[in-house]
């Protein structure tokens, strides 16, 4: 094709100055290569002469067909063919204004049509820019731009071109989907990796969960996995919940009970009488009768977690706590209900307080009496886990209450979560945590804006009775600065597994360089530095180096972090602006 194009190219070889029109890439290429019209004409004349000779000899092999496979097959009407092809050749690639080649003049009109009239009228005869076929322009003819020239395609080439474009579009969509998948995986805090065969199976099963009658022996952790996925897809309902109920089950977690009605809820207790641990989240349909039924049936129950049981009223809480089931409870976590009143808490403390090892009271707006909260230290002697979050009024939880609680439970307490108890001050740190927090491993103090450097430094400097915390969360403790945070990290850097300093905005760059020189975090796996604006690429590089097993690093709102940061391959950095889909 190249040869023919070049030959057919009617070039103006005159480079000698004067006014020149715009030249295409091809023109300049030809000029560079030293190909000029004279050569081309000579070659053309030679071929013409040869052709004539061939015609005379009635030779059946077309000369022009040498680089066109089709021609070799059409030997029969050879002569005719040759004529058309000569004509076609000249109509090709005609982007020159001046034509010196005399033989090309006859095709001039057609050539000009392709060039200067970009929208030829329907019905005009043109040569296809792709296959050089003569065709009639229709409204459906495809217009294409090729190496700077605009041309039209014959119907068959149009079809191919349309198909090609459609395919390209499809590829583009698929590529976008894949990028989205990777970005989504990043948001889910996991690296995109090949799903396990179990994951594939679970995916298929959850898609077809309505057709499953029984899950069989798939292993308890797989069952729970399916259960969690169903809850996440909001497809845990009366029918699907049956799959998880059987006689041997001792542990159940339903993260979304909003579609499980009262009768079905009773079946949980009747089908699984051996339950030891039960978690019901979003259990707005959990009814007084259910709680009563549970207290009669679940004699082995030790751990109960309820989120949002707002149908249960004060009387029922009290009668539940007075039952034998409740008296065995070692773990009671309650969240999001305004019906849990002061009297309910008193009843809980009186009946279950002695055995309770794990207590969580979060967002309970019915609890609004300070004297009742002050009862906590008197009834809770063996706590290991304590959470008091988002009390109705921040004044309800004060330093004295916590100091009392800590002094009584100092032997056992390992987890202390006090989110949004904003009334707490340095006093609670210095007189509570420091002397009584010997066994603490998990300290979560979100939104305590009154504690500051003085208190923190006092606690974490020479705090030898505590061997190091594994989990620290000081999210939105906005009064803290480098001075205390460094001391905290200096105390616990050997043991820390998870650290959250989200929105501790006063941390500066200096701290990261100080950390870089002095500390390493050998077991830290999770770090949240969101909205700590001083975190930049350099800080990321430092963290990546001094935390060798860090898996997840969150940097939302830190707009100095870019994709250029030098971090380890296996460290997932989440929240950089440049990671957007």
């Amino acid at each position: 094709m190249g040869f023919r194009r070049r030959r057919g190219q009617p070039l103006d070889g005159d480079d000698g100055g004067g006014v020149k029109g715009p030249s295409s890439a091809l023109t300049s290429f030809l000029r560079e290569q030293g190909i000029n019209a004279e050569q081309i004409r000579q070659r053309y004349e030679q071929s013409q002469a040869l052709e004539a000779a061939n015609d005379d000899a009635a030779n059946n092999i077309p000369i022009n067909g040498s680089d066109d496979g089709n021609n070799n097959n059409d030997d029969n009407n050879n002569n005719k063919n040759n004529d058309t092809h000569i004509a076609l050749n000249f109509a090709l690639d005609s982007d020159e204004e001046e034509i010196t080649d005399q033989t090309a003049v006859e095709n001039d009109s057609k050539r000009q049509k392709t060039d200067s009239f970009y929208t030829p009228t329907v019905g005009t005869n043109l040569f296809c820019s792709e296959c050089d076929q003569n065709f009639t322009v229709t409204p459906y003819s495809k217009k294409i731009e090729k190496s700077g020239r605009v041309g039209y395609l014959c119907p068959s080439c149009s079809k191919i071109q349309i198909r090609r474009e459609r395919l390209a579009k499809k590829h583009e969509i698929e590529a976008r989907k894949r990028r989205k998948k990777i970005a989504a995986a990043l948001l889910d805090k996991k690296q995109f990796k090949l799903p396990s065969l179990q994951d594939f199976c679970i995916h298929v099963i959850t898609e077809n969960i309505d057709h499953v009658n029984a899950l069989g022996e798939i292993g308890n952790h797989n069952k729970m996995k399916i259960c969690r996925i169903l809850a996440k897809n909001r497809s845990l309902n009366n029918k699907t919940v049956e799959l998880f109920l059987d006689n041997n089950t001792t542990e159940l977690e339903f993260w979304d009970c909003s579609k499980i009605d009262k009768n079905k809820m009773n079946q949980v207790a009747s089908f699984c009488p051996n339950l030891v641990s039960l978690t019901l989240n979003m259990c707005g349909q959990f009814h007084n009768d259910n709680l009563q039924y549970f207290s009669n049936k679940l004699s082995n129950l030790k751990e109960l977690t309820l989120d949002g049981p707002f149908l249960i009223n004060d009387d029922n809480w009290q009668s539940f706590f007075e039952s034998n089931t409740a008296k065995n409870l070692t773990k009671f976590h309650l969240k999001n209900t305004h019906r849990f009143s002061n009297d309910s808490l008193v009843s809980l403390l009186e009946n279950c307080g002695n055995n309770l090892e794990s207590l969580s009271l979060s967002r309970l707006d019915g609890l609004n009496s300070k004297p009742v909260y002050d009862l906590l230290p008197h009834f809770l002697p063996s706590l290991k886990f304590l959470e008091i979050s988002s009390p109705h009024n921040e004044n309800l939880i004060d330093d004295e209450l916590l100091i009392n609680l800590l002094s009584i439970n100092c032997e056992t307490l390992h987890t202390l979560i006090l989110n949004k108890c904003s009334h707490l001050t340095n006093k609670f740190l210095v007189e509570g945590i420091k002397p009584f927090g010997a066994n603490l491993t998990n300290l979560t103090l979100i939104d305590l804006d009154q504690i500051d450097d003085d208190g923190m430094n006092e606690v974490f400097t020479d705090w030898n009775i505590n061997k190091g915390l594994t989990n620290i969360n000081f999210e939105r403790c906005i009064s803290l600065t480098d001075a205390s945070i460094y001391n905290v990290l200096n105390h616990s850097h050997q043991t820390l597994e998870s650290l959250n300093l989200n929105s501790v905005k006063n941390i500066s760059k200096v701290m990261f360089s100080k950390l870089s020189r002095n500390l390493t975090f050998p077991v830290l796996e999770y770090l949240d530095l969101g909205f700590v604006r001083s975190v930049d690429d350099l800080a990321l590089a430092i963290i990546s180096r001094i935390c060798p097993v860090l898996k997840i690093l969150e940097v939302y709102g830190d707009n100095r972090c870019t994709e250029k940061a030098l971090v380890r391959e296996d460290l997932t950095v989440i929240g950089r602006q440049t990671d957007s889909i």
């Binding site: 990028r179 690296q191 090949l194 065969l197 179990q198 594939f200 199976c201 022996e217």
Partner: protein, 99 residues
């Protein structure tokens, strides 16, 4: 030591996969250690699995072998085709094989 290992289903169906692919499964990998007969003979009989399931398992082993390394970020990994009817049976098998 052969590069390949033969997996035998309870109905006698046999499939040969490379040792490297088979070691994606924790269970198979530990069976293939020198200390056990399976490791010496290079043949593992899986009484729990029947032919069709074993075939699918072997297919996954090869799929995993092909795609697990590299191409994690490129994302152009095809989905693993899985017949719906077999999903539960295969899940039991996958659970057993730690796959």
């Amino acid at each position: 030591m052969s590069e390949y290992v033969t997996l035998v289903a309870n109905d006698g169906y046999r499939v040969v996969v490379s040792k490297k692919a088979a070691s994606a499964s924790g269970t198979l990998q530990s069976m293939l250690s020198e200390a056990f007969e399976e490791g010496v003979t290079g043949t593992i009989t899986l009484h729990e699995l029947d032919g069709p399931v074993l075939e699918k398992v072997a297919e996954y082993l090869c799929y995993n072998n092909k795609w697990a390394t590299g191409g994690t970020s490129s994302g152009d990994i095809p989905d693993f085709p899985l017949p719906t009817a077999m999903a539960l049976e295969l899940l039991v098998a996958a659970d057993f094989l730690h796959l």
